[in-house]
């Protein structure tokens, strides 16, 4: 084969240069659109994010979300005026449920964010370094994983005292080990790939390899897990709220609302039904989204 000359090609357009990414995105979109459950998840998450962003400005009774008391209109059933009815202080449940999206979004972001922020670096280091570093990190991780998260979080909040911040701290403390385990396993696999060895052979330093080679290849499962965890964190926080360790009044937090509302079962069913349904739909949305993302980003791993 002879040396063919390459005439210097005319400068390429953006679309040409990134043709492959564009195709990839279109492929993802195509796969995603094809799945009803993924689209349902996306719709739920978008609705949730919309409510979280604009909730306070679109609710009919914004003052009710800040603790307004209308003793005259307590425990009214759903009606045109109060779509979800009113609670034991006469506040509009619809308004409170919608504004509660904010609290939940915040809870989800903080817990998953903190969990990933701590867990991912530790997992990468443990997986890549091996030896005693890995042994140390994994021992501690396994220790945390040996106790079910909710039980541990309960102990932490019980000790710190109830409150939203303490709840989030407690859940973040029990959340990071999941990321360590996920990322460590993935790193162990990626580490064996030839391109990592190849990078070493050209003299790349460890941080370079971790940042340019290991991390990008661990990203898909991390994204999927974070999407799922948004839901699971909201659910866990709601559970703590239910036990009575969550957000203090009058913050419109769904778990706390169900916790109060359960005393009003069954005659005032709407009180617990709607916040509970909000939790359910939000968690469902994030889980479906995560599941859909996994199908396109990370088709091989499917265990949670």
């Amino acid at each position: 084969m002879s040396n063919t000359e390459h005439p210097s090609a005319p400068p390429m357009t953006f679309a040409e240069r990134h043709a492959s990414q564009i195709r990839q995105v279109r492929l993802y979109a195509h796969m995603f659109r094809g799945s009803f459950s993924s689209m349902l998840g996306l719709a739920l998450v978008i609705a949730f994010l919309f409510l979280a962003a604009f909730g306070p400005w679109i609710v009919p009774y914004p003052e009710d979300t800040l603790g307004a008391v209308h003793m005259g209109s307590r425990l009214l059933p759903p009606s045109a005026e109060h779509w979800f009815g009113t609670d034991e202080m006469g506040a509009d449940i619809f308004s409170r449920v919608i504004v509660g999206a904010r609290t939940s979004l915040w809870i989800g972001i903080v817990i998953t964010g903190l969990g990933a922020l701590v867990g991912v670096p530790l997992g990468i280091i443990a997986g890549y370094k091996g030896g005693w570093v890995r042994a140390c990190i994994m021992r501690v991780t396994e220790l945390f994983l040996a106790v079910p998260g909710l039980a541990l979080a309960l102990a932490i909040v019980a000790s710190l005292g109830p409150g939203l911040t303490n709840c989030m701290v407690a859940l973040a403390i029990v959340w990071w080990p999941g990321y360590v385990r996920l990322v460590e396993a993935k790193t162990l696999a990626v580490k064996e790939e030839l391109f990592v060895e190849s990078a070493r052979s050209i003299g790349a330093r460890t941080p370079w390899i971790l940042w340019h080679h290991i991390l990008p290849n661990c990203l898909s499962p991390i994204i999927v897990k974070m999407s799922m965890d948004m839901g699971m964190a909201i659910l866990a926080a709601a559970g703590l709220g239910f036990i009575g360790l969550g957000a203090p009044p009058p913050a419109p937090e769904w778990g706390a609302m169900v916790s109060v509302a359960r005393s009003y079962m069954p005659d005032w069913w709407w009180y617990s039904f709607f916040p509970g349904a909000a939790i359910f739909l939000t968690v469902l949305g994030f889980n479906l989204l995560g599941d859909g993302l996994r199908d396109i980003l990370d088709p091989r791993s499917h265990t949670r």
Binding site: S198, S201, I202, A204, R205, N217
Partner: protein, 550 residues
């Protein structure tokens, strides 16, 4: 009863993908008569596997038969229902698969798997299932038939306890369990070591004779086809470009592709071009200087069970500047570990590595990083040696960004220059690895390796993951690059024909030890060890077949 057992007539098949339908099979016409042995030759992506699987009714998902029919023993099986298949698949047509590890269920014993197949056949034949003991007896008979020792013990063993060759024999036994009319063999030897390949081929050959089987075998290995098949078809991009008697096709290829394919197979008997050139020049070689030396290298791995496994056992070697140094051995011989030790990608358990007079076995950190720019590695599998998330441009530029302080524009310019050197279009720098063919990817890997102007390149089976026709191109190209950049190569391969063509000196490895070493031509012409002889012999089969016309 018609003499024609299998008739494929004008068969075309599409597979639906995101980018539109893929025409995998185009107008295939094939006829197999009873007692025929048909070979189908083709490289990866030629559609040969899809074709034979369609015959079995286990074709790929989302496939769509566009035209044509497949007729088996007078019955149209193109679009058969599952119920219809139950009477044919495994009973009248059975199959030997490529990779014996993945095609045996790891959780069930050998005996169980075979006797289940026997039971299925009995059920299909409507005879009623024979008792367990009878099936066991029949299973042991089959195992014995495929040349496996101690069938009684084997019955209760699990796939992971067997070697690759034994597993392939088990698969063959399974395929024979139902006394099929037609046996399809899908690359039955590809996943095996060369020495084992020959044995398995011999077994198939003898079984064909003994049981008077009708066989369709597909392979990319012309040697294997030539051994088994009396008739042969050549597939290329979903089409059969040529078919006929095997001897005719190999001896007198009509189609361009067939000719190319045959030409690409290195001729193990041919005297290497370089020697002829050297003789012609009759240049007295200058006194060799040692570029790289390995002294008493040893690598011991700890196994999970707590034992030790010696991958490389006390090996010493010296590579002279400017030469191509060959390392030959089968899988598990420790050649890859040795190569990685030379580059300090794997730390030796004992021994020293001396590069340009400097002992690099003890250094670490920055000095090691610096020394690495002088010695580079080209990996066996270009598909996984490139990070799928980086563009080609990033991949080639990476060594420059790591080892040099160059600005973005200079790196870009150098990347383009390197693409020129490896004869790839410049706009490839925006592409991602998965968009490139195997040969292109290997070129990218080479570009990456030479980006830093190294003095030494270690090539770990650089062509074994590639199709034959591509192999030849890459090999040629490697020689060119070497000349141009004045490189020293350590070339690792299991393929003696390749080694003979390009290597000056060679070592032969077996289970971590050097069994033979010296001048390549010397080793080849006068092998001292049986192991070397066996290696050479197995190479000859293919080589002879491909070079029949010569």
């Amino acid at each position: 009863m018609s003499d024609t057992l299998l008739d494929i007539d004008g068969y075309s098949l599409d597979i639906a993908t995101f980018d539109g339908p893929l025409h995998v099979l185009k107008d295939i016409n094939l006829t197999v008569r009873r007692g025929d042995t048909l070979g189908i030759v083709g490289e990866s992506g030629s559609g040969k596997t899809v074709l034979v699987r369609s015959v079995m009714g286990i074709g790929p998902k989302n496939s769509d038969v566009k035209a044509g029919t497949i007729t088996f023993d007078g019955q149209d099986i193109t679009r058969l229902s599952d119920k219809g298949w139950a009477k044919i698949r495994g009973v009248r047509i059975s199959m030997i698969f490529q990779d014996p590890m993945t095609y045996l269920n790891p959780l069930f014993s050998i005996g169980r798997q075979i006797s289940d197949v026997i039971a299925a056949h009995e059920r299909a034949a409507g005879e009623g299932v024979s008792p367990k003991s009878a099936r066991r007896h029949r299973t042991e008979e089959l195992l014995d038939q495929v040349g496996l020792p101690n069938p009684a013990d084997l019955f209760d063993q699990y796939p992971h306890q067997l070697s690759g060759g034994m597993r392939q024999r088990v698969l063959i036994a399974m395929a024979l369990a139902g006394k099929p009319d037609l046996l399809i063999a899908d690359e039955p030897t590809t996943a095996l070591d060369v020495t084992v390949q020959a044995q398995v081929l011999d077994l198939i050959k003898s079984l064909v004779k003994k049981l008077n089987l009708t066989v369709v075998m597909i392979s990319h290995d012309i040697g294997a086809i030539a051994t088994i098949a009396s008739r042969c078809a050549v597939m290329y991009k979903g089409e059969i470009v040529e078919q006929g008697e095997t001897n005719d096709i190999l001896g007198n290829p009509q189609h361009d592709y067939t000719r190319q394919l045959l030409a690409a197979v290195p001729d193990i008997e041919a005297k290497p071009a370089r020697l002829m050139a050297a003789e012609a020049a009759s240049e007295a070689p200058s006194k060799p200087t040692k570029l790289l030396e390995g002294m008493n290298l040893r690598k011991v791995y700890k196994t999970r069970a707590g034992g030790e496994f010696t991958a490389v056992n006390d090996i010493s070697l010296a590579v002279n500047t400017g030469e191509i140094f060959g390392v030959v051995g089968e899988s598990g011989s420790g050649k890859s570990t040795l190569a990685r030790m030379l580059l300090r990608l794997v730390d030796p358990t004992a021994g020293d590595i001396i590069f340009e007079g400097q002992n690099i076995s003890g250094i670490a950190g920055e000095p090691l990083r610096k020394i690495r720019q002088h010695m580079q590695f080209v990996f066996q599998n270009p598909h996984s040696a490139l990070n799928g998330r980086h563009t080609i441009g990033d991949a080639i530029g990476e060594p420059l960004r790591i080892q040099r302080t160059m600005n973005r524009r200079d790196i870009n310019a150098r990347t383009e220059a390197l693409l020129d050197i490896v004869q790839l279009p410049r706009n490839f720098k925006y592409r991602y690895p998965h968009e490139l063919s195997g040969g292109q990817k290997q070129r990218v890997c080479i570009a990456r390796a030479i980006a830093l102007n190294p003095r030494l390149l270690i090539l770990d089976e650089p062509t074994s993951a590639l199709d034959i026709s591509v192999q030849a191109q890459v090999l040629d190209f490697l020689q060119e690059v070497r000349k141009e950049l004045n490189l020293t190569y350590v070339f690792i391969s299991h393929d003696l024909a390749v080694i003979r063509q390009i290597c000056d000196r060679t070592i032969v490895m077996k289970r971590g030890d050097i069994v033979e070493q010296g001048d390549t031509e010397q080793i080849f012409l006068h092998p001292a060890e049986d192991y070397t002889k066996a290696l050479i012999e197995s190479g000859r089969v293919t080589s002879r077949a491909a070079n029949m016309r010569a």
